[in-house]
Subunit: 290 residues, 4 copies
């Protein structure tokens, strides 16, 4: 943290965390532990929480990844109240606003300066770090749904992007026999060089050997033909965002267990996920000040 | 598997798996997959299951780790019936009988030849292999009860026996920052040589730094004094058999979360646990024949 | 290898390996082991070797990475003869020619169609795979020049490109305490996520702690000021191509041991390096045919 | 280091390192760095060195692993002089004397109290820690004599004692495909559990597949029959003490490259080896005081 950020603290700039899930709750904790003034709004089921009007007095406002649900209403599962930014355009102007989907925010508030709205999720560092709770959540799902140990299992990880990389290392670290599929030749070279078996995505000749398959590829990789060759005892954990990479109906018809595991960081490790949001936000503030 | 075991198969010797939990069910599956004739008794809630009289016709009988619950009654959660060996002494004589606690069996049947009763759990290979499902079960418990990722967490593993060794490697493989405690100088030398930080069990100067603590030592290591210095946010997973290594009342009074995780292999990975029993039993048969 | 490459074999297309070091010798071996007809030219000190005129009858000609030394003369340390392509332009036309520095070749033979000349070293897969012999060569140099074990040493790897990645993993795999420096935030996120300590290249506050430093960055990172803070007992292995990333004169004046380790694959693992060239050439042929 | 050891320092007890190789030189350095008074005797080719008479005034005397060469003469390659303890029995009485082979010392000085002579090499911690420089030295030998990279090579490590364990982990950490042989069932269970392929020592069905073989077993494992099935390109590094585990004459006759690599710590990492002796000696002193 450089002097700019520190000076910000002494200037008593304050954060308001408005709505969101446990990640946002832990984000508030993390900011407080680092010495910032933080107001929470929409968390009265968990802790002290202020009204939206008071929250909007803060200098920096943090909204959930998807800022609005319904018009200008903010998702806030930890209050019975209703948090809505309708009619707040004037109070928002001049504030620094963090959310995930910046474009969704600006659609509702077209007159707010785009420069004042920052996305914490469109950020390489955020995505890289978020791969960790995603991979761990995927492993937790696999453990929950499998009768066997990860150690010693033949596992296929489909895709060698951020999540594929982190997940494969963790699975190997637990003793699994991991094969990774990718399309690019240079990815396949890295896969082998990192000590894994590499195969070409889609060219799944030995697909019946795997007892657990993790998919990270956002295309229909596991189609009828391929599902037809998978072991009945196999478990497929699909991490690709909707509609996912698996023909779920066909899998069900064949009796293959599938889990479409989405939004894992917030579910399985909300504290870590909140700390990742914190470090991303502070990083963006530093750069802006720098 | 050597020719002796193969000849046994062709001689049509049969196994009966009598009572027990999912491990015993998967043990039966594993034996069948390897070509043996297997009768299941006490599993009618799950699958075809025979009467005890028929089961006792088999050459080799396999009972649960703890053979009897109540007199000569066999624990059998997957039947509503009652499996009891009362009055079966004659039918048992001459059979080969596998159980875990051999001495418990012989207490009820003192006239059966001790040589015909084998323990599959008093076996170095069994214990080593069982460390894997135990360690994975411990990690699953930690994931379930923690808001943070394993990766990046400061974790203490107390004890460097079989489970401590396997657990530490897995945790590191997932990206945790692992410290291991032991008492023996040569264990501490191995700990460092294997790339971990080593501390002396009981000399826990920095105990407040750890967010997850796994105990494998079957003594009261985590007493009042030490619990008093543990972080309130910490999670303790105790793997030591009853009464365990933690003063649970004191931990509760201080608001420290504890999990006393016992019998993990059967709970979290019964298929793997059953396969380990199978390979142990076949190993013992091989040696006897050899 | 697909059917195109196989058909090529049955068509009796032949390779000539003309000049070069041990890598080229092992390249010839590897091609022969895979069933190709191969002529060697310029290796008479080692084995049977043909005249240049005969070599030029082959369909595919392979020259060293740097094709010419002196006009059209080919570096060929394993013959006392002189291999020169002067006056061979006509014989070369229509041939498929592999070398490393394609532009050097075309400078001497401007009338040869650029499409017929392929570089095996301007290739992502080649570069990725070559990181392995480079990293191992660097470790061998460190072992040779150090009185301490790699295991337990505090080591800095400067740069997180291909070689930095492979080298760091190997050093950690041997038990070293590895810190990696990089400039990009996302690289630093990956470094931490992969379980290493990450620092910003140039911001070397604790530089005096490292006993071995590997540099992979092709800029003057280790300047007077930084060398002034390095331990006198440290060893610097510079892997960056000339002029390297170290002020060697200053290091010498200060009594810091430095090794400028270049062209490691050919020196320390020529067989592996030759096999990498083979797989790169066959990959290029496959793609051309595909 | 406990208060006893510290008090020893303030009492100005002094060490004399008498003779020995570079390990002993670095042992002296390490002791000085930890604040002890140290005299060197027999190192005048390298540094300031005192006469034997002066050395014998010290409280604690450290001799090489094998204390005497020839009667009471001490091996001292770093002096042209001759260090001999003939006639020194009186001066030695009451001193604390460290060497490796305590029994050799006592054979020459039968009247010295056995309690005053300590072996630093008959010590579990010493042996465990020494496995590291031995394993690294073995890898350095393999690199020096092989044309291929360790990474990607099929390697057999014969024996799963201290050196086998450390060596296997390092080789895997460098990317090798490692198989380990052992005899005991529980060792084989650990080998698999640690993620290696395990085979029974002597039952080397696929011995022709390995390109590098490390032997740590002090029996003739690699006999005529087995050597007859090893690849001509293979390299055997024998780490077992003389006569080793390889029929070297037969290997030579068959053109198989062998290296009998002995006393590696002192040769390849004398500084680390010296530090291991230091920590062993200080550990013994602590225990004695404790």
């Amino acid at each position: 943290m450089d002097t700019k950020v520190l000076s910000m603290k002494t200037n008593k700039e304050t954060f308001a965390i408005i709505g969101g899930d446990m990640r946002c709750y832990y984000l508030a904790n993390a900011l407080r532990n680092d010495g910032y003034n933080v107001k929470l709004c929409g968390f009265d089921k968990l802790t002290d929480s202020c009204e939206i009007a008071e929250a909007l007095d803060s200098d920096i406002l943090v909204l959930p990844v998807i800022p609005f649900e319904n018009g200008k209403q903010i998702s806030s599962p930890f209050t019975d109240g209703n948090i809505n930014l309708d009619g707040c355009a004037e109070k928002l102007s001049g504030k620094l606003i963090f959310t995930g989907k910046k474009e969704n925010f600006l659609r509702e508030f077209p007159l707010i300066s785009s420069q004042n709205v920052k996305s914490y999720s469109d950020n390489e560092e955020f995505s890289v770090k978020n791969a960790v709770p995603t991979a761990e959540g995927a492993i937790e799902e696999a453990m929950k749904h499998s009768d066997s140990t990860i150690s010693g299992s033949k596992i296929l990880v489909c895709g060698y992007g951020r999540i594929g990389k982190v997940l494969s290392e963790m699975l190997r670290g637990m003793g699994a026999d991991v094969t990774i599929s990718a399309r690019k030749k240079s990815d396949l070279a890295w896969i082998e060089l990192n000590g894994f078996k590499g195969i070409v995505t889609g060219e799944f000749h030995d697909i019946s050997h795997y007892s657990i398959i993790f998919n990270t590829v956002p295309f229909l990789v596991f189609n009828k033909e391929i599902l037809g060759r998978i072991s009945k005892d196999a478990l497929i954990i699909d991490l690709a965002s909707k509609p996912g990479g698996v023909d779920f109906d066909e899998a069900k018809a064949r009796g293959i267990r599938t889990v479409h595991a989405l939004s894992l960081p917030g579910k399985t490790a909300p504290r870590s996920a909140g700390e990742i949001i914190e470090s991303t936000i502070l990083g963006i503030l530093e750069e802006d000040d720098g």
